[in-house]
């Protein structure tokens, strides 16, 4: 017992230090009054002013949000209708089909999509990005929703039919509300995946659309400014709010179950 009572807590502390020191440094340097090197010169909030005044950032953010929303909508719609309306045996059989996008590195998917689009001379843009992100999204949505749907009490659905509801009514008034926690979780996950996606965006965006990750990458590559640190800090705050929200939903769910 002595081994684990000293070794493990120390290891955990070191682990969290390793995880958070770089992030901490990044945040600190967003307040650094020095545009060129990584030396500390003084405190300033200028980079935040620059950030909120930057048209490019807002434009990229708008694109990213639009694409993420469309992706969430499409993958949830495709996923939930497939899960409910498809016959159980068939869904069970085709489930493996949707793991394909997880079994290959994203860059292979991106190359494939790029080949497809150039083969049919589809011009790259927001639509092609939504297509690619939805492909990624389905790989997560369908297993999550399916897992939850199988756990549902079949009697509830059958009761709905017995009481005269049509398939459509059952879907909207019984199944969707029952699946709500899974839908929210999957939706949030896909939203973040789309918002965060870099590789597929890098290949399938073309020159016309700039998303937030693409913008960040181009700035980092061409000599970064502390504005990127400011942007990162803002994004960190937003994503921690997201995680809090997410864990709040989970905690609530667990409480309800108890």
């Amino acid at each position: 017992m002595r081994f684990s009572s000293y070794f493990l807590p120390t290891a955990v502390a070191a682990f969290y230090l390793f995880l958070y020191v770089p992030i901490f440094v990044l945040v600190v340097f967003s307040f650094n009054d020095n545009a060129f090197t990584y030396r500390w010169l003084g405190f300033t909030t200028d980079w935040y002013t620059d950030l909120f005044a930057s048209k490019e950032v807002w434009h990229a953010l708008k694109n990213s949000l639009l694409i993420a929303c469309a992706t969430v909508f499409l993958s949830l719609t495709l996923g939930s209708t497939l899960i409910f309306f498809g016959s159980r045996a068939a869904v069970q059989r085709i489930l493996l089909l949707f793991y394909g996008s997880l079994a290959m590195p994203e860059i292979v998917l991106a190359v494939g999509l790029l080949s497809l689009f150039s083969f049919f001379s589809v011009s790259l843009g927001a639509t092609t990005l939504i297509v690619g992100h939805t492909l990624l999204g389905l790989g997560y949505v369908i297993p999550i929703l399916h897992g939850r749907f199988v756990e549902l009490d079949v009697n509830l659905i059958e009761a709905s039919y017995d009481l005269g509801a049509t398939k459509r009514q059952t879907f909207f008034y019984v199944v969707l509300p029952l699946l709500a926690p899974a839908l929210i979780a999957a939706g949030l996950l896909v939203f973040i995946i789309s918002l965060d996606d870099f590789i597929i965006s890098f290949f399938c965006a073309g020159a016309s659309v700039q998303t937030l990750p693409l913008y960040i990458f181009s700035v980092i590559r061409t000599g970064a400014s502390p504005m990127i640190n400011a942007l990162s800090t803002v994004m960190l705050v937003v994503s921690s709010l997201f995680v809090l929200m997410f864990s709040f939903i989970q905690v609530k769910k667990i409480r309800i179950q108890k």
Binding site: P9, V21, P22, G86, S87, M104, V108, V111, G112, F202
Partner: protein, 295 residues
Amino acid sequence: MNVKQRIRDFISENASFVFTVPAVLWQVLFLYIPFLLVVYTSLQHCMECSFFDITFSHYYELFDRAYVYIICRSALVALGVTLSCLALAYPIAYFLALRVKDRWKNILLFLLTLPFWTNFLILIYSWVFVLDHNGLINTILLKTGIISEPLHMINNMAAIFVVMVYYYLPFMMLPLYSILEKIQHEVLEASMDLGATNWQTFRRITIPLSMSGIKTGVFLVFVPAFGEFAIPSIIGGGQQLFVGSLISHYFLVARDNQLGAAFTVISGIVLMTCALLFHWLCKVPVQVAQKEVAS
């Protein structure tokens, strides 16, 4: 009966078919057909050649140019990253899942998932501030007088390796944690009651029970690490070629789709071989444990 009504009837009569098709079609059209297209492109003689002008020359070219070396190196680095992540993550996940009180657990889990939800370019970029000439480590070492000249720590393989481990750790942690959390204390206590030592309990009970988590974690780390593209290009300064960087070079810079496709196919085959090998390897420890228990 108008057209609208007819369509509506058709949908309600064949609902299970109508609503299965779109998702499946999406997957086939945008995932499986592109795969075939990449394979076809890799065999195509040139961009403007006729459809049936097929050749293996791109593959020969890749073997000639010893790009096999880059694939092997990517696979080795990915393997190293995966094993390091496993070695680092397992004790932490074990501790979190089985030894921490609930109140602390939530906070620690929150801190663990936060990087997971953070934009990964930002996470990678933060390491520039740690490893750079004027970065955190050099500043501390210079101030404390341990070194007199700044160390050169960025733009090399070691930096890429560390950042990859850093980035992929949560991908290993979360599946491990969620499987370890399901292990019931009673099982471990029973093992101890029956006279097993800590180590025996760990090796014969905990590890076999968490095997599926290990598998998921290894898979989640190895596959993307093998195709890594952003980390070498930000931390490595684009000097260290990886499978991902080479693929993107062919498709986006050199515009040599045929060669790029051939390279992608070869890498894909290597990756699948690795995955199958790993799948087979995973069965061994469980079987060994079962045999030991039986004997």
